[in-house]
């Protein structure tokens, strides 16, 4: 069974601070996705990383896929209250269409 360990579980920071969320596994994934979920809504895709070592930037968010395709990180620069939410990583296996989700990181950015 593939598992994704996501850390930290909770993060409460002040506006303007930087933060990093980690997603680690002993399994190799074909790709890794990051979703963001707001209260009362379903998760929404932020990014997909498909190549080992890949770095993708989305404004203040930087996503990295580990060289060995077993881990990923999400770095937010100068966090804003609008970044508050639940961040989920999800790994795709080389076969089939099922994703394995991490337990999520609840981020709260205080103004």
């Amino acid at each position: 069974t593939q598992l994704l360990e996501q850390s930290p579980q909770f993060l409460s920071i002040q506006e303007g601070e930087n933060l990093t969320v980690y997603c680690n596994s002993s399994s190799v994934f074909s790709s890794l996705q990051w979703y963001r979920q707001e209260p009362g809504e379903g998760p929404v895709l932020l990014v997909t990383v498909v190549t080992g070592g890949e770095v993708k930037k989305l404004k203040r968010l930087t996503f990295q896929f580990g060289d060995a395709r077993k881990d990923s990180s999400l770095h937010i620069t100068a966090a804003q209250p609008g970044d508050t939410g639940l961040y989920l990583c999800a790994g795709a296996s080389w076969y089939g269409n099922k994703l394995v989700f991490g337990a999520g990181t609840i981020l709260r950015v205080k103004s």
Binding site: Q9, S31, Q33, G40, G42, P43, A92, N97, L99, A103
Partner: protein, 116 residues
Amino acid sequence: DAGITQSPRYKITETGRQVTLMCHQTWSHSYMFWYRQDLGHGLRLIYYSAAADITDKGEVPDGYVVSRSKTENFPLTLESATRSQTSVYFCASSDPGGGEGANVLTFGAGSRLTVL
């Protein structure tokens, strides 16, 4: 509007009752999924379907039944609800394919179920 719709959004039921959560998608995606979301566990896959009349168990299928007679609908039934099935349930769909679009899930807004 195109998208994925879940109903009901909120449901309170009693132990032992049968409950059906509905899911309808207009994307014509071939794959559909049911997840439950509980604090500390993230999203856990209950059942999924690769196409009409093809369903398979996920990580936590016990106590649930699904069907998929039409591509656009994927109802989830709790045959005899238990308190441990109190959760938020999400339906999702995806289209198989290569590259970055592969396995990307589009989620519904969720159905919050409370079993008393």
